[in-house]
């Protein structure tokens, strides 16, 4: 896991390595300063010249300047390294996701990917910064301070051999006790906040059933519960600062008592007053660095969970990739299914498609009808190799789809997906997804075919109208027509509409089909629909049920032979056409 995460450091390796170096320099100076001040005090005590004091003062200031300088550089490199690392992590995740196949995409939910790329990366970023700054700084500080304390105070330093373990063990106990409590209580806290969100969103329901008091009571119980657990955890945490105080206070008393003894009994040989006061500084530094070290440790533990979730995304390998020596050119729009079986995952109980044998000529128009769960969408998604067939082969233009370069195949096979999406941006920008080099004339041409030009011209900004995220400022039918236009701009050899005119009114639907017949007669067209009217004039209509093709033929043939088709046709034509908007 760590090796995979470390891969993303890349160009920030220099900053990541410089940081501990400068931190080390900073720490060394920080430890020398009290040493100097002790000597200064000694000199003052011995009644030195003023020039000596000034010399010490200037040296002190210069050292402080250097410490500031190194600290500042370390701060900058640490910020740069960690921000850069976070950027690389996000980038690596995003790029990897772009390689995901449909099967990979199905495995992660949108919200989980968003959290992984934001909150989780931020956690790891903070932990990374803590590590390159703190993981060096605090142990170093601890060791240096101890060494300096030994140099200054000799055996006095052994006082710390008592306080350090007390603090360390105390902190360890607190962390061990409190960590699982916090994990638990934060989960409860999330649940509590989710329930508030639920309440806010469902306020109409709450108010129309007059459940305000019921909700208050429910919330109050949950809040009470969270409060109890939080208090328990916080009360244990609250022992942190008394513990620290205890260690500091006992160190102070011991230093004072023993220090006085040493100074007096050795007549100032083993220890001096100046050295004594610098011992306080070291004792404080030692304890603080221990405290901070424990915080770094906690931080790393917390971010480990996040790191794990990031690695999951980084490790995910696309199930579909272009082969070596891929075929780059799609000859024509013919499609062949030979004995195709398909499952969404290896452990799925039943096949989504079984025993499909289907041969479509280039330029043919094929309609597909069938109920929910009849796997209409599964069938058409195999053609541009959005999924791979489990058994059998799918061929486009006579070549196995697995032998094509993916981009070439998908540019030749244009699918308008059932769950289609427009992105925030102008209409023109959205349409250019189909062909980035399309001229304005080409764009308008495609929109005319998709019957979208008319309504676009009515917008005040026409083709430059800004679409909000998810295309919420156009109606369902308009959205579908824009999606069709976008797919047409690819000038595909095969065009697949997966229930893409369900919100379009019947008249416009007919006009779109008419335009297809007249203007792109050579393109193979596959139309998946709920309405019989949408597929009625197709060269062939397939009826699907339970993952199999159960009937195939023209409208007239099926009316005679297929009971399912008859039933659907009659229910939809009884008493005139019904609107399904």
């Amino acid at each position: 896991m760590i090796r995979l995460l470390a891969k993303s450091i890349r160009e920030y390796k220099r900053d990541a390595l410089l940081t501990p170096l400068f931190v080390t320099l900073e720490v060394i100076i920080e430890c020398i300063i009290p040493f100097l001040t002790a000597n200064l005090v000694l000199e003052i005590q011995n009644g030195c010249e003023l020039s000596t004091i000034v010399r010490y003062g200037v040296i002190l200031m210069v050292l402080a300047g250097f410490s500031l300088f190194f600290g500042r550089i370390a701060g900058t490199t640490a910020a740069s390294a960690s921000a850069g690392y976070a950027r690389n992590l996000r980038r690596d995740m995003f790029y990897n996701i772009q390689n995901f196949s449909f099967a990979n995409i199905d495995r992660f939910s949108t919200s989980s990917l968003v959290t992984r790329m934001t909150t989780d990366v931020t956690n790891v970023q903070m932990a990374f910064m803590m590590i390159i700054r703190g993981a060096i700084r605090f142990p170093l500080m601890l060791v240096f301070s101890f060494i300096m304390a030994y140099i200054m105070g000799g055996s006095m330093a052994f006082i710390f051999l008592f306080t350090i373990p007390v603090l360390a063990i105390g902190l360890a106990v607190i962390i061990c006790k409190v960590h699982p409590l916090f994990v638990k209580v934060f989960r409860k806290y999330d649940t509590l906040n989710n329930s508030i969100q639920e309440n806010v969103q469902a306020m109409r329901v709450v108010k129309s059933y007059v459940r305000e008091d019921f909700e208050k009571e429910k919330f109050s119980t949950a809040a009470e519960d969270v409060c109890r657990d939080f208090t328990r955890a916080e009360r244990i945490m609250a022992f942190n600062s008394p513990l620290m105080q205890f260690c500091l206070y006992s160190a102070t008393c011991l230093i004072l008592g023993l220090g006085a003894y040493f100074i007096i009994s050795t007549q100032g040989v083993a220890l001096t007053v100046g050295k004594l006061s610098s011992l306080f500084v070291y004792s404080f530094q030692i304890l603080v660095s221990l405290m901070m070290l424990s915080m770094v440790f906690v931080m790393i533990t917390i971010s480990a969970e996040s790191a794990h979730r990031i690695v999951e995304v980084l490790q995910e390998r696309s199930t579909i990739t272009s082969p070596a020596n891929a075929v780059m050119d799609v000859k024509d729009g013919s499609i062949d299914f030979d004995g195709v079986d398909f499952k969404y995952s290896a452990d799925a109980e039943r096949d989504a498609l079984s025993q499909i044998d289907l041969h479509i000529r280039s330029g043919e128009t094929v309609g597909i009808l069938g109920g929910t769960g009849s796997s209409k969408s599964s069938l058409i998604q195999l053609i541009p190799r959005l999924y791979d067939a489990t058994e059998g082969t799918v061929r486009v233009g006579g070549v196995d789809v697995r032998d094509y370069d993916l981009d070439s195949l998908r540019n030749a096979v244009s699918v308008v997906l059932q769950k289609n999406v427009l992105f925030s941006g102008t209409i023109k920008e959205n349409l250019r997804w189909g062909n980035p080099d399309a001229t304005d004339e080409e764009i308008m041409e495609a929109c005319r075919l998709a019957q979208a030009d008319e309504f676009i011209q009515l917008f005040p900004h026409k083709y430059d109208t800004y679409l909000e995220r998810g295309g919420v400022n156009v109606s369902g039918g308009q959205k579908q027509r824009l999606c069709i236009a976008r797919a047409l701009l690819k000038k595909p050899k095969i065009l697949i509409l997966d229930d893409s005119t369900s919100a379009v009114d019947t008249k416009t639907d007919a006009l779109i089909r008419k335009a297809f017949r007249e203007f792109i007669p050579d393109t193979t067209k596959i139309i998946v629909a709920q309405r019989v009217a949408s597929v009625q004039e197709a060269d062939r209509i397939l009826i699907m049920d339970g993952g199999r093709i159960v009937a195939m033929g023209t409208h007239e043939e099926l009316l005679k032979s297929s009971p399912i088709y008859q039933e659907v046709y009659e229910s939809q034509n009884k008493g005139g056409q019904e609107d399904e908007a």
Partner: protein
């Protein structure tokens, strides 16, 4: 966060303190006393240190430990005792603050939530839900930090500073002046860097928001990206946002990381300065100016240098805490604002009661559930008149707009007799859904009247009015809990059998029994484990168990497949039977059998009549019906 709300720090602070003392009249003062005590004791050691050093000074050249020992040991013992007391009071206040902080947060949460339940629906329609939520998350979190950490620390640091200052002045004015001036510079530095850092952290937050929005949108449309082979363009767009985020994050953290070295080394500078000035004073035997009147000596200079560290260290911490306090105050203010929101007003005095019909046909109020309901209307002479609840709803010249400047419904008049079905048809924005908001008084009308069983709904108590109405909304909202809990939401006293009967009526029983734990299956995140159609069936069952005489049905717009739609439709039909029903139709197939169909356009009823009448008219309805116009 809402922009443009002026920050009233002082008012908020006073109110927060008042709230704290109000909630914890005993604990809070105790905690305060303990904080002050341990802070004062914590700043005393310098005095003892000075005394011990003075003893050492006089004795060290003789090397006679035995002579000095009693004095020193006595001082150390006193110091240890004081430390012990300070430690105890620290334990007391840290424990108390843990209890107080969490208790305060809980009480604030509950108060906010309770207040929120009584807010008018307008509040939820006009405020971003994310923003409402952040009162409970961000604002509460910053407040926790402030109350639990900054507040006691600032108090104790303030005391420390004060105590150290007094002691310093006791020894020497001149040296104190050097420290004070130095500290001033230090505060300036911290404030300016802290401010810059905060600006960049806000920018970082904004950039992060942009990245989040982009990722969310793209991940939702990832399959479209694949179909159009748009991966590299998408990556390029992402890189731009990602790089911007990196640069903001880098700057914000650079400032934050620089703060510590600056604080520490300004401290060192001041230390050096004090040493030099002290040395000069000592050697030149300059006249000292102090409260004690002591002359300069080594026993002043050494503790003074230690105090310098203590003082500058504390000042540094204070200036760091200030930034947290500013954030916490903003959070507290937003919390108070939510608590101060104006609740929904209700002047209705007509209530809904159970009655029993007497032999003479009059109605008598009964205290048990008789399943016969009546409106209890107070009369001017103090007596009550009982009107049987039947579900007769009339609109008389109703005008309405969400904001006064823009009327969305114009002069709507219509009636629905008990048991009738009235359908509303029209394009998005025609005002169909608005009508549902008026009958149950989520919003109040501007002109005209709405009568329920002949009573103006303005005079009916809102809770009773709403209890007599059932609503099935476009978007189904379910609650975390079991399937059974969710159905029972319609009628809290309903038995399991009644709930199951309602589910059967709605046509939901079948799929519920196929769930892993049947009626005890847990639903989370708005029933994410159910399909759209299944969620709607549960909402219908929930309305069925409430069994109101009047139903408002807002059909779902999102497309569900035809088979599920048929099941949902059947459930709806079963629920409508024998009730007055208002249907907001998004599909025309469902309105044919209505007693009356209202075609709305821009807030006006442009056509009305039965299906056959409207078809014969060959107007707008006819065009919609034949598919010549898109409904949505």
């Amino acid at each position: 966060m809402k922009p443009n709300v002026p920050v009233n720090r002082k008012g908020t602070f006073v109110r927060l303190l008042r709230t704290l003392f109000e909630f914890f009249p005993v604990l809070m003062p105790v905690a305060l006393v303990c904080i002050l005590f341990s802070a004062i004791v914590g700043s005393l050691p310098t005095v003892f240190m000075q005394k011990i050093i003075a003893v050492i000074e006089t004795n060290w050249q003789t090397g006679d430990w035995a002579a000095a020992a009693p004095q020193i040991l006595r001082l150390v013992a006193i110091l240890a005792t004081m430390y012990g007391l300070a430690l105890i009071s620290t334990i007391v206040w840290t424990q108390l603050m843990a209890i107080i902080t969490q208790g305060l947060l809980k009480k604030l949460r509950v108060k906010m939530f309770d207040g929120m339940q009584n807010l008018p629906l307008r509040y939820f329609d006009t405020n971003d839900h994310g923003d409402i939520m952040s009162h409970y998350t961000n604002d509460i979190d910053t407040l926790r930090q402030m109350v639990a950490q900054s507040f006691p620390q600032l108090l104790s640091m303030f005391v420390t500073i004060l105590a150290v200052l007094v002691i310093m002045l006791y020894y020497s004015f001149w040296l104190s002046l050097v420290i004070l001036l130095g500290s001033l510079v230090m505060v300036k530095f911290t404030r300016s860097i802290g401010g810059k850092s905060a600006t960049f952290f806000q920018r970082q937050q904004k950039s992060l928001g942009k990245v989040e929005g982009f990722v969310e949108e793209l991940m939702d449309g990832q399959k479209v990206v694949k179909v159009f082979c748009h991966e590299s363009e998408t990556c390029a767009d992402f890189d731009r946002l990602n790089d911007a985020l990196m640069s903001d994050s880098k700057q914000a953290n650079t400032y934050a990381n620089t703060l510590m070295p600056i604080l520490m080394n300004t401290g060192n500078f001041i230390y050096a300065l004090v040493a030099i000035v002290g040395g000069i004073l000592l050697i030149t035997h300059a006249p000292n100016l102090s409260f004690s009147g002591m002359a300069f000596s080594i026993s002043i200079t050494v503790p003074f240098l230690n105090m310098t560290r203590q003082f500058t260290g504390t000042i540094g911490q204070v200036s760091q805490q200030i930034n947290l306090v500013v954030m916490g105050m903003a959070g507290a203010q937003r919390i108070f604002e939510l608590m101060d929101e104006e609740p929904e007003v209700d002047q209705g005095n007509v209530t809904l009661v159970n009655v029993q019909e007497q032999k003479d046909g009059s109605l008598k109020e009964v205290p048990y559930r008789s399943n016969v309901w009546a409106w209890k209307v107070p009369q001017e002479d103090g007596s009550f008149h009982y009107t049987r609840l039947t579900g007769d709803v009339r609109f008389e010249h109703v005008d309405f707009g969400y904001v006064p400047e823009k009327t969305v419904l114009h002069d709507i008049s219509l009636f629905a007799k008990p048991g009738q079905k009235v359908a509303f048809v029209g394009a998005t924005g025609a005002g169909k859904t608005t009508i549902t908001n008026l009958i149950n008084r989520f919003y109040d009308i501007h002109n005209g009247r709405i009568l329920y069983d002949g009573i103006d709904i303005m005079t009916i108590r809102k809770a009773d009015l709403r209890r007599s109405l059932g609503i099935v909304l476009q978007d189904t909202n379910l609650f975390t809990g079991t399937v059974m809990d969710n159905i029972r939401y319609g009628q809290l006293e309903a038995t399991d059998e009644e709930c199951i009967a309602a589910a059967k009526l709605a046509g939901a029983h079948d799929f519920i029994t196929r769930l892993p734990h049947g009626y005890q299956t847990m639903l989370t995140s708005n029933g994410a484990n159910l399909s759209q159609g299944q969620r709607q069936l549960l909402a219908i069952a929930r309305a069925a168990v409430a069994d109101p005489p009047v139903m408002i049905m807002d059909e779902a717009t999102s497309s569900i497949d035809t088979r599920t739609e048929a099941i949902v439709q059947k459930g709806m039909d079963a629920l409508m039977y024998g009730r007055t029903v208002f249907v907001i139709a998004h599909r025309l197939s469902t309105v044919k059998n209505s007693n009356a169909i209202m075609v709305l356009e821009q807030g006006h009823i442009i056509e009305r009549g039965s299906h056959d009448e409207l078809i014969a008219q060959k107007g707008k309805y006819y065009q919609l019906y034949t598919g010549a116009f898109e409904l949505e």
